[in-house]
């Protein structure tokens, strides 16, 4: 049995400890917002937070998160209220939408560490996340917009 916290809730899972966190989240815990894209930390679709840091959950054995705090897209906000979610909606970022959970989770770490990111900061933080639909220009705009919202005092 492995115990950890997901989106503020303690969970105990009985799985092979080498199972990647991604599949435990998706199949054992029903949190399907985190996506599978490559299985080798190449595309970022599976990005979650582990104790606040971005983690590619497709290559992280669940044993690694024992006793720690995991946040998934479902835990980013309860009500679409995170500035990034609001900015994503305002810029109409998603197309197919499949990679967007990972994009948002990567962007959330960036904004916490650099509340006013430059384009270069965005390049560095977001280059691990592939979007096949080509939403990059809108992701960039949305990150800047979210940064503006946060500067303006919004949460």
């Amino acid at each position: 049995m492995i115990s950890f916290t997901v989106n503020g809730r303690r969970v105990d899972v009985d799985v092979d400890p080498s199972t990647p966190l991604l599949w435990v989240l998706r199949e054992n815990l029903g949190l399907t917002g985190t996506k599978y894209g490559c299985g080798m930390a190449q595309c970022g679709a599976c990005t979650v937070h582990l104790d606040g840091q971005a983690l590619r959950s497709c290559v992280a054995p669940v044993s690694r998160v024992a006793g720690r705090k995991v946040t998934t897209i479902e835990g980013l906000s309860p009500d679409l209220g995170h500035p990034l979610q609001r900015a994503w909606i305002a810029e109409d970022v998603p197309q197919c939408g499949y990679c967007q959970s990972g994009q948002l989770m990567s962007a959330a770490v960036l904004l916490r560490e650099k509340p006013q990111p430059t384009d270069q900061d965005i390049d560095e933080a977001m280059t691990g996340n592939i979007c096949r639909c080509g939403t990059y220009p809108r992701i960039r705009k949305a990150i800047h917009r979210a940064a503006e919202m946060m500067k303006g005092g919004a949460k």
């Binding site: 299985g39 909606i89 959970s101 996340n129 080509g134 939403t135």
Partner: protein
Amino acid sequence: MSASLLERREFLKFSLTASGGLLVGLYIPNGAKDAFARETSGTAFMPNAFVRIGNDERITVIVNHSEMGQGVYTSLPMLLAEELDADWNKVGFEPAPVDPKYNHPAFGMQMTGGSSSVWSGFEQFRNAGAAARAMLIAAAAEKWNADPATLRTDSGAVLDRNNRKLTYGQLAETAARMKPPEKVALKDPKTFKLIGKPKSRLDTPEKVNGKAIFGLDVKQPGMLTAVVARPPIFGAKLRSFDDSRTRSMPGVRRVVAVPSGVAVIADTFWQAKVARDALKVDWDEGAMASFNTAQMMQQFRERAQSPGKQVRHDGDPDGALASAAKKIEAVYEVPYVPHAMMEPLNCAVDLRSDSCEIWTGTQFQTVDRAAAAKVAALPDEKVKINTTYLGGGFGRRANPQSDFVVEAVHIAKAAGAPVKVVWTREDDMQGGFYRPAFVHAIAGGIDANGKALTFRSRIVGQSIMAGTMFATMMGLDKKGYDPASVEGLDDLPYDIPNIGVESHQAEINVPVQWWRSVGHSHTAFAKECFIDELAGVAGRDPYQFRRDLLQKQPRHLGVLDLAAQKAGWGKPLPEGRGRGIAVHASFESYAAQVAEVSVTDGLVRVHKLVCAIDCGRYVNPGIIAAQTEGAAIFAASAALFQELTFDGGRLQQTNFHTLPMMRMNECPEIETHIVENNEKSGGIGEPGVPCTAPAIANAVFAATGKRIRKLPIRMTEAV
């Protein structure tokens, strides 16, 4: 599916090319009677197959096209809501079940592709909205005992002359008893409140909180997961397999041979995947075991030396070559490329003795249902397909053989429980159905005045249609070539007196399929690079040279001028940078792009792409811009990075580390400029693709003096 309907697609395409205005009558679906059959359930009012109005004021638009990122869950509801005079804030959407009444009005089957959803739904969804509106008015007239002609609608309510008001929700029950109108009048476009406006996409909220359900996310009670060991070489046959280790692995329920390989069925994906990887499979490798793409391309190049099947012949292209004042020949090459949607293929099936329920992200509902029914030995009507969100499509999820659906039904037969088949990224990339590789050998000449005199193109590559149900329908045998291999060259718009287009069809046992923009994805590259080369021979500016040759093509000229002007064509650039231009029509839309690039240490950096798009009357300009940006990035990824190669019959690329995608740090600044006009709607999902590769290649020439004739662009191989 009937052959005549597919032929009509051809007819539609060609009649569109010939003249713009012929089609309106054909938009009305043959099944209009069906589609307008009144359906009611509970307190909801369902005046026709495309809309349901609840007494809670919610308006649900039933969308017969799949949402794969192109925005149909927003643009098609906008069409219906416009004529319904709905309150846009109350409008939602729902994917249509599979039913003939949801067939594509032009293609005669339920499907999404060919950049056709908006133009084919333009009248269909508006008619459905207008019919519902008429019934709501009739309901209000009955309640008020008023003349319907005195009533009007606004934002989800019927009003009378005294501004007495009944909302659509209040009228839903009564409206359900009203007779559907025989005919409806549509709004004057000048009065549109939604169509043409930048409305936010309706599917965005659930795509930013993880709630959107894609095929891979489907879970049904008791559902198992299967991962399949498929042949490592196309055409290889299963000899035997050793599952002694696999069978005893945790969670494994069954290991079964199916026509596509060996399926490992387990409780979870990870268990199935680990167990699949532990399988020992012996394959009879077959004839493709010695296949390699380097040899294939060499054979293509050799074949391009001789005349092919004639596709187009204006004047005397060969004779004019002999008499040209100056001439040039060039060979262009494009590789196999995969669709590589972010969501790998998957399909979930619950097969019972008298029913089959499927959940998948598909572009091809009618074909998939028929194929599934055949495997399940059930009538089509017993097969239900739930269309989930598609994590990208790009053509791959419209498979004429329904490969990923057929396989899943076979596995469901063996599973004895609902089962979801999941392809790993490697399975997806190695699973075939790529954009075929092509060689284009083009020769051209100019006369003594520097005017283009002749253009002769020979195209060598595999047919997408050959061997599929579409071959006869598209008239392949009759023509002797595949129209999808030559589209974009067969209608070469340049005013050149001598034009030859010839096709050589290659028979290679690598499964190929339509890939975003289909034939245009390679014909535009060859054509627009060659026109640049011809301009060079003539000593002319490539933009002006095109202008002169497009004087009779106002819409080509319109986008060309717009892109050039917005990009500041001719204005000085920083040292080391170059601009390239391309123009191309596809899917009844017109596109031009200007790329600005630099090359450092052999690496091409695209700094900026300025795109002009003329897709006629559009529904949502935000989506037009998003599709144009996305198409350019999709195309730039392929032009700069992507190539599938085979050696010893095995694909050498497996995942994103060997098949790179454009990433944030490589993404250029992109500007999109939309031409405003009132032409009939064209496509938007694909027309942004074709210009990007040649615009970048031509810009590389401007920056470095090196011609690019091969994709992906590798400076070490530049001519």
